[in-house]
Symmetry: C2
Subunit: 227 residues, 2 copies
Amino acid sequence: MFVRIATDSAQRPNSLRDLGMTSDSKAIVSLSEFSYRKGKEIYGEKEPAEYVYQVKAGAVRSYKLLSDGRRQIGAFHLRGDIFGLENGSEHRFTTEAVIDTTVRLIRRQSLETVAESDATVAKNLLSLTTNNLQHAEDHMLLLGRKTSLERVAAFLLEMDKRLTAAGIMALPMSRRDIADYLGLTLETVSRALSRLHEFGVLGFVGNTQRQIVLLDRERLAGLDLQS
Amino acid sequence: MFVRIATDSAQRPNSLRDLGMTSDSKAIVSLSEFSYRKGKEIYGEKEPAEYVYQVKAGAVRSYKLLSDGRRQIGAFHLRGDIFGLENGSEHRFTTEAVIDTTVRLIRRQSLETVAESDATVAKNLLSLTTNNLQHAEDHMLLLGRKTSLERVAAFLLEMDKRLTAAGIMALPMSRRDIADYLGLTLETVSRALSRLHEFGVLGFVGNTQRQIVLLDRERLAGLDLQS
DNA sequence: CGGGGGCTTGAGGCCACTCAACGATAGTGG
DNA sequence: CCACTATCGTTGAGTGGCCTCAAGCCCCCG
């Protein structure tokens, strides 16, 4: 495994630097990197939360399982996203690399130490948690009250905002992952995508089914009812 | 409306006092009370978040609406619970009194001012937000992956923990509220409760259908699959 | 070129929803 | 105190959207 001590943090928005690490406090926090092959677990639910993570490259899913295997994915973490931030000492999700993924790590304790004295860091920790909360709240509405077509439309719009480059959305996750994120089955997701294709709101690129072009963002947004 | 400036905070766990108000900082924060009749709105989604609230007596629902009227209740706030705490400046839910309700209020700004200088208060704000996040995460699993019977069982277990007194659970909310919390219809909730009654895991008390006794907590827990 | 995983599509089934009727309860006014 | 009414809850019948099961295609990868 590749592990390196980073001497400076990234300039990217949403980076660990955004937690408020000033040149003073940076010295305390050790940044290192770690890579996971596609499908590998990063940490399990209920494991002690020793590290906080930031996706440097790749994609991560966090999920909960019922004892009979039903899975609910709570979030996908893409490039720049911070995850694994728990207030308690235990992780509340299992996380896995969706594709080959490299993450940065910070010891949780270092972060807490800094937050203790630095109000800016503390405020940014709260801000991160609030963003997660807001996402979860919106997702509850989706899972509780939206139809399959609305869910898939909402998913595409979310991914469009987060990872579209040059007009093409390259989804790192499988239909099964999408289904477990949206509370559906993979067949229902597939059918919804086919319908959206028929409607002319999206097109498929190349010969993999994971590259999508949104042809009519307007109409897609109309299919996902808003609050 | 009854409004009173409180000179001391409550001794109850989960009270505003738990935000870390020491005798020093208490002086800054003005506590007042306000009452709402059953069904009245406390604040609306997207309104500026001027106050943070604590339920003194009664019960509150927070929900989101889709434009066609579908409703998802994100949480019920019972005696002692704090709600309306937003990081941004806008409320993300509409809240209403489920029954006649009295709340305490704190100006959000006062709280932020105190948090700025008092690390304990800041830490408790984060802790509160994390608790909300954890609840939302668990609820996503319920909404995305559980059957109607599992949802109702989970609901009863949650309410049992939160409001059972003398063995009787007096639900303040209607079947419709429960349904909108669980992502079901009120008929499905009613049928699930009837089945649980047939199974002998619960009994109804008095002549209202809102007072419930859990006869077999063990078996009820078995009906709600855990992660 | 063969095997396997991911995706799509079809056929049929089931669980929760819809629509409807009815009973019980609480609130209102006589 | 009792009709009257509105609201809430239960139950039944039928429907429908999503799930299940299955087959087949395509692409990747050995």
